[in-house]
Symmetry: C2
Subunit: 341 residues, 2 copies
């Protein structure tokens, strides 16, 4: 029996005290005051937010578990300084750990990283190590543009990122490449920035040879890989023009796309051009689009329906819903084996 | 008999003297010297570049005409100052006008605009007016990020752009939204920047209400609309979340996508989710991807093959290949009628 593992869920509807603390933290930074004390949040508050939202939808949609990370649009590592980013990441990741411990086997943790721009990666590496070894997380979200909307960071193939990749491969955890909110008025976060960043990230990888240096490094490019599957011919052609190997050998042992594409024709295309080995079921819920599609009567982000409607062989279906997630997140696989799944 | 009108062609293989002049122009600017004299380029040189390249491919692929504009990646309005951008745009547009006059009925001119960042739009408006009224051009390419890769310009819905839109609608010419080369090492031009900018531009339009102010303004978003058709459900859902009208009413009387998508599944998706009224045949040749797809044995950018392979009603096929181009570019329609087509 295939498990339905959603590789892309964010804790978007949060205990109010957590959000209020963030507001106070930022205000304190701006006023030059020390950060306020983090509030006590009891389990009941966490249960309330989860059960009314993620858990309700997981059940309603017939999924089994969600790989769960902090709200992406609020990661905002450009706000404040390195200490602000570090404390915010710690608090957010700790909250994810509490959700996981309250619902073992239903959630697995993925951490955000305190990537304060210009502060280097040392804090991110420390937090990754803490989340994986102390909190039992199975992966991280890596922000390719921590400045928040002007693409000023080095490409993902730059040696700047190598110390983090070394730690990721030593811990055997993948990263989802995921920007945060946009501080650029010309770029809407979930409609412009996310999809643009996904596409740009893939092209950075195509231009480089990162996986020659890190053959076991694994990235998930969310939102169905941005524009990439739709333009798969363009990317195959660009690989050829740039004298790179064919994409299958050059990138597709290390790069995976989720199924956060909110209509049937998009998922059909994804499954047509991308090998099922490279597709992980995901919904991004509760996320960018929360309404009901009037053309189907179902929620846009109920992506299981689209995958179910594909004409897939049993092994491909198993790979997309479960097998690939266990392969890309070996620490998730270990957790599941431990509980007999 | 339907004409095959390619709405997206760039003059990429150019007379060497024109390119050498550009190099000298930039060098002179950097050295604080006046711009060098523009060289004499005779018709034979222009014919040579066109006949060996664009015209050869137009014929080989069974097209009839190309809506032709200067090489997009070289527009680079951020190089030099406003005077440099103005002179470069003038020279490039004049060269397009010469191609059009040498091959009437085979090429129609679309101009680049001297959008030097921070210089405002006055020069762009003057050049648009000149190209349309003096050179007989039928449209323009509008760069939504003239800074070249950091998305620092106001969104396309900002009043900053309104004087240009007023001129465009007075002249009844559309714009293709098209960035230039990337000066951002994290963003490959044709693989990252172009597709990202297309997607971001669409979302800017979705967030605003520009076409309430300019009901006759028309934009072509190239490269198949960036990621938009692949994520059509996401954009329909975002319109709903942002309390905008449905996309058909909100944007699709004014926004058009070309067919510069370099594989059959991408074109299949485009035609499945986008009304044929909103699709203009285009190839972007000679452009981003020049090789042969080993899976088909044909050039990636021979997009006519993909459109031909669609199961289209006759009127939809006519709209995509000819009718929409004549409707979106009324000055093209007038030119064609004048020569009895």
């Amino acid at each position: 029996m295939t498990m339905i593992i959603d590789c892309h869920g964010h804790y978007t509807i949060l205990p109010k005290a957590h959000e209020a603390w963030r507001t106070a933290q930022v205000a304190a930074f701006e006023a030059g005051r020390p950060s306020p004390a983090y509030p006590a949040i009891d389990d009941a508050e966490i249960r309330e937010t989860i059960e009314a939202n993620q858990l309700r939808l997981i059940k309603a949609r017939g999924a089994d578990m969600t790989i769960f990370s902090p709200r992406a649009s609020a990661m905002a590592p450009h706000i404040g300084d390195a200490a602000v980013a570090r404390e915010w990441a710690t608090r957010c990741n700790d909250l994810i750990a509490r959700v996981v411990s309250l619902y073992p086997g239903v959630f697995a943790g993925v951490c955000m990283l305190p990537q304060s721009p210009d502060a280097g990666l040392a804090d991110a590496i420390v937090e990754l190590e803490r989340c994986v070894t102390e909190l039992g997380f199975v992966g991280c979200n890596l922000n390719p543009d921590p400045g928040g909307g002007h693409f000023t960071a080095p490409p993902l193939t730059d040696r700047y990122w190598y110390p983090l990749y070394e730690r990721m491969t030593a811990l055997d955890v993948p990263a989802m490449i995921h920007v945060s909110g946009s501080c650029n008025p010309a770029m809407h976060a979930t409609g412009g920035y996310y999809i643009a960043a996904d596409t740009i990230a893939f092209m950075q990888l195509l231009e480089g040879d990162l996986f020659a240096d890190f053959p076991n490094l694994r990235f998930i490019i969310p939102h169905g890989g941005g524009a990439v599957p739709y333009h798969w011919g363009r990317y195959r052609g660009l690989a050829d023009m740039l004298k790179k190997p064919a994409l299958d050998a050059h990138l597709m042992n290390n790069v995976f796309f989720d199924t956060c594409v909110y209509h049937q024709p998009g998922i059909d295309l994804l499954a047509e051009v991308i090998d099922p080995r490279n597709i992980l079921f995901g919904s991004e819920m509760i996320g960018a689009v929360r309404g009901i599609d009037p053309t189907t009567g179902h929620h846009y982000d109920d992506t299981r329906r689209y995958v179910d409607a594909l004409d897939l062989a049993a092994d491909a279906r198993h790979a997309i819903f479960e097998g690939n997630a266990r392969r890309v997140f070996p620490r998730l696989d270990a957790i599941l084996k431990e509980i007999g799944r």
